[in-house]
């Protein structure tokens, strides 16, 4: 019941906001959206409170017939791997609603409605245990995001929205064929747990691997199918960027742990070299690309790709450090990238430019903002005692167990990450006041302070005391590794 609430409370709130009509009801619509997002977060809290740490399987399971014709069930459940993402998503939705409070003045209902609908759908992706249900949620999230980028985005929004949609649709459609193949092979079952037990030959595993790889790699995004992300991020409104970076990118990575690793363990091992190579390219090469960006949002977008490379790396070294580290990295990246995009949004709302060159000396006029952004920038480089450190450290630990040079290559991200983040920070925040626009800047208003403050607390808490995040994963991750070690055919 809790999981259904986590999905449907935001969706209903979104529909309610949409039903209130035009912009003359904007204040009401904002209040509905805020109430809906807070209610949506509150209903997810019992998931954490009532979570059993020793149970590696699915918890809070709901199971109802949905389309008996295809043997599709409305099956929901979370384990240690997915539970935190539902909380993260519901939490992020509140921030997005607050962040768009005054910035969005046109078509407020549609904006708020789209984000709330998306929040519910994203929760659905993370707790669907039926392959088709997963696919429906996975695809349905494209519609609100497409509209968000296209309607409230920047100058080149149409191109970005179409590119985003078509890239991800291509991946998902191949995944659909793979899911249908699994459905056929399992004798007509869409239950993900049934697919875990399927004895598949290495040949068919490899085909399925590539079918799923496209869908997930595009979403992550992995090099070389990452090119939609910088475009989408640059053109999306701040809220869109936040949800895109904090949650949507996680869908692809989540797909790897939920589908690829357990269902196709042999193919995963067989192709681990490929995945590791692509991940390292993302970490190193995209890190370098980030270094030369002149647009702040683009820089953070590339930094996201680089960080997500760490996540895929962690998955495909097949030990508990790697997988847990990758999951932690996903959550931490959810906080940090959201915060970074919000910081850029704060500046953009005042200056209407994202060019690094247009800034300089912001610390003189916005000291509070500069302090908070410093924290997030440090977290983005993976400084110890911030959340960014925990995941990266765990993945590097896991990588050392496999191969020293692998760990070495991965660890270069700490250098590149620090380089591009801090260099940007230096150019934007420090130095002399660049121009009269910067001189006229107003520091954070209370609303912005609340949003960034909440994220700052999360980043610090997770960095200093990560146990509450890691302990829920242990049982499920170990179970996954045990399952992968079993012979499949």
């Amino acid at each position: 019941m809790l999981l259904s609430l986590a999905i449907w409370v935001p969706i209903l709130a979104g529909l309610l906001a949409l039903a209130t009509g035009g912009d003359r009801n904007a204040p009401l619509q904002r209040q509905i959206a805020l109430a809906g997002s807070i209610a949506g977060f509150l209903v997810t809290l019992p998931l954490y409170a009532g979570f059993s740490l020793s149970n590696p399987g699915m918890q809070f399971v709901e199971h109802r017939a949905w389309i008996p014709h295809f043997n599709v069930f409305y099956t929901l459940g979370v384990d240690g791997i997915s539970m935190l993402f539902i909380l993260l998503n519901s939490f992020t939705t509140i921030l997005v609603v607050i962040a768009g409070w005054t910035v969005i003045q046109q078509r407020v209902a549609q904006y708020m409605g789209a984000f709330l609908l998306m929040s519910g759908l994203l929760n659905g992706v993370f707790c669907a245990l039926d392959g088709l249900l997963f696919y429906v949620f996975f695809e349905a999230t494209l519609i609100p995001m497409f509209v968000i980028i296209g309607v409230w985005g920047g100058a080149n929004r149409v191109y970005a929205a179409l590119k985003f949609f078509l890239y991800t649709l291509f991946g998902s459609l191949l995944m659909l064929v793979a899911l249908l193949y699994l459905y056929d092979k399992s004798g007509g079952s869409f239950a993900i747990r049934d697919w875990w037990k399927l004895p598949l030959t290495l040949g068919s595993q490899l085909w399925l691997f590539f079918g799923l790889l496209f869908a997930f790699a595009v979403k992550v995004p992995m090099w070389p199918v990452h090119t939609w992300l910088p475009d989408a991020h640059v053109e999306a409104p701040t809220g869109g960027s936040v949800v895109l970076a904090a949650i949507m990118l996680k869908l692809g990575a989540y797909g790897f742990v939920r589908f690829t690793l357990p269902i196709l363990p042999d193919a995963s091992r067989e192709l681990a070299w490929l995945m590791i190579a692509l991940s390292l390219i993302a970490v190193v090469y995209i890190g370098l690309v980030a270094l030369v960006q002149t647009d702040m949002k683009k820089l953070i977008a590339y930094s996201s790709i680089s960080h997500m490379g760490f996540v895929t790396l962690g998955f495909f070294i097949f030990n508990s450090y790697g997988i847990e580290g990758a999951l932690i990295q996903m959550i931490s990246h959810g906080f940090v990238s959201a915060a970074m995009f919000l910081c850029v949004g704060v500046m953009y709302d005042r200056m209407h430019t994202r060019n690094i060159a247009d800034y300089g000396g912001v610390v003189n006029t916005m000291p509070k903002f500069a302090a908070l952004m410093m924290l997030f920038a440090m977290a983005n480089c993976g400084l110890p005692a911030t959340s960014g450190f925990v995941g990266e450290f765990m993945v590097i630990m896991g990588a050392i167990k496999v191969n020293f040079w692998l760990a070495f290559a991965a660890a270069t991200t700490l250098v590149f990450g620090a380089a591009y983040t801090l260099w940007m920070y230096k150019r934007v925040i420090f130095g002399a006041v660049a121009n009269e626009h910067v001189a006229a800047l107003q520091d954070l208003n209370p609303r912005e302070l609340v949003v960034l403050g909440l994220l700052a607390i999360a980043v610090l808490f997770m960095g200093v005391y990560p146990l509450p995040f890691t302990e829920v994963m242990h049982a499920s991750v170990n179970d996954l590794l045990r399952h992968m070690a079993l012979p499949k055919y």
Binding site: P68, F70, L142, V147, V158, L173, V177, Y181
Partner: protein
């Protein structure tokens, strides 16, 4: 003999209704055409009631009538009911459109009802002759309807093209049927089915049968509008008044599907291995040509015409996945999927062409892509409905278009034709582009027409809302319609 007339009650009622309409219309003033319109809707309603009556009376069992020339089974009933719905919906959408253009004449309404009668005969045909009769009745009415706007050169040209190509296709179909007759000595579909199995074991006879089969499949392909027999579709869809396009683009698809089922599945299932290969080529070509060419269109009606071609190609995926190596374990699922696809497509098509009709008004035809620019500003509700329709056509969940694609893809994968499924999804990606472009025009662009959207009567707006939201509702709960389609196929 008396039973025969009861089984054929819906057709008889419709025929009587159509004749009544023609008579009554003589006494209706031009300014009072609404009366004729009301009679037509009433006739449709009574015919539907008659169909339900027969359906309940037969308990869903298969009944033959008129020396097995005519069959009434669950599939026929279901398709007929869908066809009444589609025709009635199309008529309701286009009432104002036709009134504005002085096209709501007795001829139009009578032709519409006779076309429907033709469709019903096709759906219930159990003999090559009956199929052909129904088909000709339908086609002749449609030719005339396309040319209804006598002063329009485009319409006349479209009608000529349609007529000439249609006549050619009918000829091909007839030629194929005569070959079948030569091989089996019978025109009855049930008899043909009994004989082809044994005949096809003899290689000479088999070659003879295949020869006929090729011609029949060509004729069918033309009527379904699949590539490479699709050339008439864009011209006719474009040239005909939008209200007539709306009619052509909906219910006749159901009839064409029924014809394919009657001829290929009821009659020639033993040749499935042969016709499935032909359909596979047609399907791939249609999906490719339809989706790729649609991108280049700047006219909405032409774009939707190419989209139809692509969708019929998709539907064929279901028809061609039934029999695998002589094993028809999956056949009901596959044919059920094709039927589900057809019905869903008709619903989407009614919505999309219906929206064009609603957005047109006196002196303005909404048919260019740019006419949709900024619709979200002008009328957010229409824009939202059209968004649902477009995503459904593109096959994005949670709309029902996704489940239609899912069921035919699933049938293809079950039949081991994974390559075909991959080809299909790649082309549906291409297709997604031009559906998205419509959404882009409506939501992301500024309107070129500043005036608010022309106010349609309340009832029509409610109908359109129901039509659009049905795509969403059926997407969230697709089970009932799927189950009904499966039951219909199992009752063959």
């Amino acid at each position: 003999m008396g039973v025969d007339f009861i089984v054929g009650l819906p057709e008889i009622v419709l025929l009587a209704g159509a004749c009544t309409l023609m008579l009554a219309d003589l006494f209706v003033e031009d300014s009072e055409r609404r009366v004729s319109y009301a009679i037509t809707q009433a006739v449709l309603l009574i015919t539907a009631a008659a169909t339900v009556l027969v359906l309940l009376g037969s308990g869903g069992n298969l009944l033959y009538a008129f020396n097995k020339l005519y069959v009434a089974d669950l599939m026929a009933h279901l398709l007929k009911l869908s066809a009444y719905g589609a025709v009635s919906l199309a008529l309701a959408y286009s009432r104002q459109y036709l009134l504005d253009r002085a096209l709501l004449t007795g001829e139009f309404l009578a032709l519409l009802l006779f076309a429907l009668l033709g469709m019903m005969v096709m759906m219930s045909a159990n003999s090559f002759i009956t199929v052909y009769l129904g088909l000709e009745l339908l086609s002749l009415c449609l030719y005339a309807m396309v040319a209804l706007n006598r002063d329009s050169a485009a319409s006349t040209e479209a009608a000529m093209k349609y007529f000439i190509l249609g006549a050619l296709a009918s000829g091909l179909l007839l030629y194929g049927m005569s070959m079948m007759y030569g091989a089996t000595g019978t025109l009855s579909i049930t008899e043909v089915a009994k004989q082809t199995g044994a005949l096809s074991k003899d290689s000479t006879q088999h070659a003879f049968l295949i020869f006929g089969l090729v011609f029949m499949v060509c004729g069918l392909a033309f009527k379904l509008g699949v590539a490479p027999f699709h050339m008439w579709i864009p011209d006719v869809y474009h040239g005909a008044p939008t209200a007539v396009t709306l009619v052509i683009g909906t219910a006749p698809k159901l009839a064409a599907f029924a014809m394919a089922m009657r001829l290929l599945v009821n009659g020639l299932l033993d040749l499935a291995n042969d016709w499935q290969q032909m359909l596979a080529i047609l399907a791939v070509l249609s999906m490719a040509i339809g989706n790729i060419t649609a991108i280049a269109q700047s006219n909405l009606k032409r774009m939707l015409a190419y989209s139809t071609i692509a969708h019929m190609g998709f539907m064929l995926l279901g028809l061609l996945s039934g029999v695998v190596g002589g094993n028809w374990r999956n056949a009901p699922d596959a044919y059920g999927a094709a039927m589900f696809y057809t019905i869903v497509y008709v619903l989407m098509s009614a919505g999309s062409f219906g929206m064009l009709v609603l957005l047109s008004h006196k002196g303005f035809e909404c048919e260019k892509l740019d006419d949709l620019k900024g619709l979200n500003r002008r009328n957010p509700w229409y824009a939202f409905l059209l968004l649902l329709i477009m995503f459904s056509l593109a096959g994005v969940p949670p709309t029902v278009g996704f489940y239609a694609k899912l069921s035919v893809l699933s049938a293809a994968v079950n039949a081991g034709m994974i390559w075909l499924a991959v080809v299909a999804v790649v082309f549906s990606l291409v297709g997604a582009y031009y559906y998205l472009r419509i959404v882009k025009l409506m939501y992301f662009d500024e309107p070129v027409i500043a005036a608010p959207v022309y106010e349609q009567p309340q009832g029509v707006r409610v109908l359109m809302s129901v039509n659009g939201l049905a795509l969403l509702a059926l997407g969230i709960l697709p089970q009932p319609l799927m189950a009904v389609c499966l039951a219909a196929i199992k009752g063959l």
